[in-house]
Symmetry: D2
Subunit: 199 residues, 4 copies
């Protein structure tokens, strides 16, 4: 069966630019979760502002998140869990709660491209430029960025919209991605969506 019916008429069908939010929805209740949360909370506010501007420019937003609960969970259940006031991550989940027309990709491993539909989704959107945000800079963001570079995407990784437990490691990884992956790492306020879309 391949007859897809469109439940979301308002979704952008085509966009040369897409905004990725990596592993922002979660409870942050794992070991050392407080250490990364400290950096993730201010980051989340920056991402929220960037997302607002992205949607004005009809740039699609893709949540890429770990597949909690052994693949049985869906994103809704994950979101409900993260929004529970008793968990640390609820403050971030509140700020970055997805809209109805946002896309979700559940990933089983570190890279958003590995064993997921991301490749196919971006091919359908016609996307050439990816804006990376989320955590953590040196693991899931880096793995996903490497895979995107290998697939010939242009990379934008606003330095204030990624975070890691260790800020030095985060800064080093950003430098790596700027040098090797040719990523544009300007802060989110300097991102010009109009220009990116004309690229």
């Amino acid at each position: 069966m391949s007859k897809n019916e469109d439940l979301h008429g308002s979704a952008p069908d085509k966009s040369s630019v897409a905004l990725l939010l990596i592993d922002v929805i979660g409870d942050f209740e794992f070991e050392d979760g407080d250490k990364i949360f400290k950096h993730a909370l201010p980051m989340a506010k920056k991402i929220a502002a960037l997302k607002k501007r992205a949607k004005k420019h009809k740039v699609p937003v893709v949540y890429i998140n770990d597949n909690f609960g052994k693949w049985q969970s869906d994103f809704k259940k994950l979101l409900e869990h993260a929004l529970d006031e008793k968990v640390r991550g609820s403050k971030i989940a509140e700020i970055l709660k997805p809209d109805d027309d946002d896309y979700f990709v559940l990933k089983p491993k570190h890279s958003g491209f590995y064993s997921t539909t991301l490749d196919t989704l971006l091919a359908y959107l016609g996307t050439k430029t990816l804006i990376f945000t989320g955590i953590s800079t040196d693991i899931c963001v880096l793995f996903t960025a490497n895979d995107a570079y290998m697939r010939d995407f242009n990379l934008v990784i606003p330095s204030d919209c990624v975070a890691a437990q260790d800020t030095k490691q985060s800064a080093k990884t950003l430098k790596y991605m700027e040098k090797v992956l040719k990523a544009d790492v300007r802060p989110s306020s300097k991102i010009d969506f109009g220009k990116l879309k004309r690229k």
Copy 2:
């Protein structure tokens, strides 16, 4: 982030056999949906009985379903839509409603292996033998079965648990899968889970 918390302690972690349900959840409100529904309804009853026996043997059940609504939908939303009494597929969705510990894989295209987590999920389960059920025999079942054969799985495709719009085409495809993919196509009542697991 890769710290998966286990929300579903009851889920089977390891099983050499898995039961796949392909595209059984849907509204069947597409063109010629009535023609395939006619064959899909008796098939659904056979699958329900087979699934019941599978769960007694702790064989995990994986729903593989089209990604309706341009990837924004999750499986829960899809299920709610399919359960709506106003749509044709609700009778089948009622019979085959997933349990809390069943697995879901949303596929963007015809094969359950293409651009999905299925490969990774089956590697984690340690599965070697796949039981195929669902629709339609000559398209999504065939595409997924071909991909499974190429990955060296043993294939069981009970002849009364697959269906297509054209019954002749369904029978021909079953013969093809028996001959070329070495599939065991015995009817579902003849499946011996204990034996399959010892294989």
Copy 3:
């Protein structure tokens, strides 16, 4: 390291159409190899004529072949073995000997897309339409065609340029590919490269 130097300046860099030759180079010395060889020899002559016309239109030619000898072999060694007069396949290898500017893809399994560079090669060529030729219609040609259809290529499968051991099975599979994969199965003499390229 990603600095590719171009050893083959004459190679077409971009082409919306590509011609695939599947498993035509081999010794045909396996069990029942004589049965398929009988049909493969006249097929090879048709493919040779089609290839000649393809090259006039600067349509790139891609040999997709089994990875003999446990991945240590390269295509050159495989070709030398197939050209050896003592093996049955030498007559076909002689007719279909690759040119210096043809592409080679070694596949470990049935589909030319599985665990190979074919996806990346076709993306670089910018190919949208694939012409399928080779053996056998119901296995490697079908598996590769299914995968191509799933990737949204247009399929052309000239009925006189594919073969299988069982001619009835070959004809049935062609019908399937025409109906389900929307393949154009007209005989090779009716293929209009100019038209295909303008598509």
Copy 4:
């Protein structure tokens, strides 16, 4: 066609450990090729010694190399080119010339796993532990190592068997791979093949 004939009876069929040589065969005649060559030459000698010991333990050796010449080249042609005394890389190619029973994987991009047969080859070998050697530490070695980690391989990356243009960047990347990918980075002389195989 899937009837593989075995041209190399001496090849190890199964091995829990494999030795990877990444991008060691090449002319090194690209921009700044002299800078990396300076570090690659001593590295090559270390790899040669390690490879000798690996073969004594029947550990298979896999050359993973860029796909020069737009996919038309095979590894033999690439090797001949690299062995030409007029090119800088010939000294390294002479030291690391592959044996008849070594495996070759041509990669179109940075990671040895991307769009290649590596996954399938390692599945057939039954490999769980990968020893990484070659260039450059911060690009093709890192990309391939990330992909291996994501696929649950154990990683051994002997610090004296990898090299990059910038030695500081190489050292930083090694540290990253030790910390994040849990790689064992002990020097090659300390590698105990017997122990690795019993793991």
